[in-house]
Symmetry: C3
Subunit: 282 residues, 3 copies
């Protein structure tokens, strides 16, 4: 069997996605079992991330594995200029899987080319974050009961959002999914509110702008309001990768349309399914 | 059963305290057993703390649990302004209990209002640190064999010490406990040395002062000496939350009155008892 | 039984080294077993180190233990001036073994004098790093099949390299080991290339120099080339503690002489053997 890396959502096939989602849903319904005893999960975060790191860590523990890694490279040989390739060779000795976040586009692919164990890309700069895409898909499935035949409105910093790009591409694998992508600085999303089954609200990617003024204008232009939510059709849901800034005010939180906290709860089961897959449980 | 949070020592009742102490003493005598298999303990430290974080972590492992968390929020979405409420909703998905240290007074209560799992306050600014109070109580019980009918002298930065405030308040639940609180900058503690069964020596709370001169004067004024210890009555003990500065010189360490290193050893069993309680083992 | 500390390679005896190597080789051949259930390994790194910390952590997990510790003391009471002795007394309560890295020469010995559990020195400044020496010995044994009757050329910053000093001293315990130590700034290593069975290539210890110019000159003078490797005799191997700078170019990596990535894989089994020893498994 070839090593099973998860580097980009571009290579996802529909049957595989359905397997991952089914397994994640099984965990949600029946709880976790120790399918990974004696395994060591490695979480190597060259950039900090609480949300992604902790959800993979918890997934590992729920399956009976142990977890090693780092989330702060300041002061280490890595910060002093060890090559990514040498670091990956090193950590291949410490864990049975490499979960990696790194600021450079393409770094996860470079790691997979070197590693002797599976690599899961937990974010390579602005490029790919495939487990987030799977989490978004599980969320839609849980919200609607299906991944075909629905309309999705994605609002945010469309040009720079890897969340939006990856989900939009992946949804092309499903049937009759109508996608509308809106940058609220350039165009109103109001005309589409009543029609969407799912509304994905993402924040401004402020780290991508050098111009603080542009970020401030973006933020000012963009706040999904209770009035917006009330225009949504019955059963439609607002989802978001979180963390949120001003685009998702807390006044939405108790509305039936708000689904982003439920979404957050799916992170552990979907990552547990991924860990099982790359480690060959099924 | 309602969720069992531990937010403040103000709500402690004597029978509950005795249960916790009895369980901690049982651990000291018989060792630990795996009463928390398949549980995940979350240690979320928005401010660094080696002592408290590691004692909860070790307590979790001794009971067969796993431990996730963070102790450094620099560079994360938390540092970038995610609300405490959103962070607590997130970590409720990762662990079966939330052990939290945060710089703001009242933060632990806010967390408990949101969390779907038990919250243990491991320090909310200058306000409360209830497991420290329980540790002080176990220490007195171990030192004297009782929690009623004794005299305690508390020396230190009385106005600003949460350790002193919480212990002083909690001791009111017990019978015939005579308390004397002395700020050595303002008053001599000498007259009380021969009379006390327990002497709690706490450091200057230098983080509460903006005036370096005031801190330096405080420190200079205050060093519990071997001569002081020799005035103590037979069987009386010096306790301290540690870490120490100049107020507890190492020349005391080998005296029979010095009990602060024994005290440090009670941190893991008392926190193990707390974990069992909030997770419903008894 | 006295507490089994590992502080310096100077106290190693040949039969003990052979026991450690045999056990490490057994792990490499047969895999790990849970000989340390219910044990807690403490990794206390007052200076960051990814390589050493992770290899001890993984070794602990492979043997069924749990791992606690810190790798960043910024903001803690340790950084605020708690004495090493007080910190060691504290952590003796949290783990069954203390693995410690500290910037000061002699700190590990001071820790062993205070600790109530075994101490393993994982680097005390420029002084000692005994598990690295054992790793070098396992590597030579794996490369040559023996630890007697061979020639070793050590190239690098000879005056300041603790790796070189410790290995050179320890090899005196073995029979007929010819050692040549060369600082390439001062002398050519070329005449010795064809004769050596093992060539240890170590980097400039730039943290020991105040003069950036001297470091730059050192680096410029020193690059082990493919032409160098081709002068080596059949079966001879290049080893290195890694990380590498320019002294070991990646053009060497695929040559049969390059043995430094294999060496990196021996770090976990040799540290697992050490953990078993200090915890009294054998």
């Amino acid at each position: 069997m070839n090593t099973r890396h998860i580097i980009t959502s571009e290579t996802f096939a529909r049957p595989w996605i359905e397997q991952i989602i089914n397994r994640a849903e099984q965990f949600m319904q029946d709880g976790f079992v120790h399918t990974l005893p004696n395994k060591i999960i490695g979480t190597y975060f060259f950039e900090p991330s609480t949300r992604t790191r902790l959800s993979f860590t918890t997934a590992g523990y729920r399956l009976g594995a142990e977890v090693v890694g780092f989330d702060n490279v300041a002061g280490t040989s890595i910060a002093k200029g060890e090559s990514l390739e040498d670091t990956i060779r090193m950590v291949s000795n410490y864990s049975d899987v490499i979960i990696m976040r790194h600021p450079e586009t393409g770094s996860a692919k470079r790691a997979a080319d070197i590693a002797t164990v599976p690599v899961i890309n937990a974010g390579d700069g602005a490029n790919q974050h495939p487990s987030q895409t799977l989490l978004d898909l599980v969320t839609i499935k849980q919200a609607l009961g299906r991944l075909d035949d629905f309309k999705i409105l994605m609002i945010g910093d469309i040009e720079y959002s890897r969340v939006v790009h990856s989900l939009a591409d992946t949804l092309k694998l499903f049937n009759n999914v109508e996608q509308v992508l809106i940058n609220p600085m350039k165009e109103s999303y109001q005309p589409y509110l009543a029609d969407a089954d799912i509304i994905l609200v993402t924040r401004v990617q402020h780290e991508r702008y050098s111009d603080a003024q542009a970020v401030a204008e973006f933020k000012e232009s963009y706040c999904f309001s209770v009035a917006d939510a009330q225009q949504m059709k019955s059963g439609a849901k607002i989802i978001s990768p979180l963390p949120r800034l001003s685009e998702l005010p807390t006044t939405l939180d108790l509305l039936p349309q708000a689904y982003y906290f439920q979404q957050a709860a799916f992170g552990v089961p979907v990552r547990a399914a991924l860990l099982e897959y790359v480690l060959g449980v099924w």
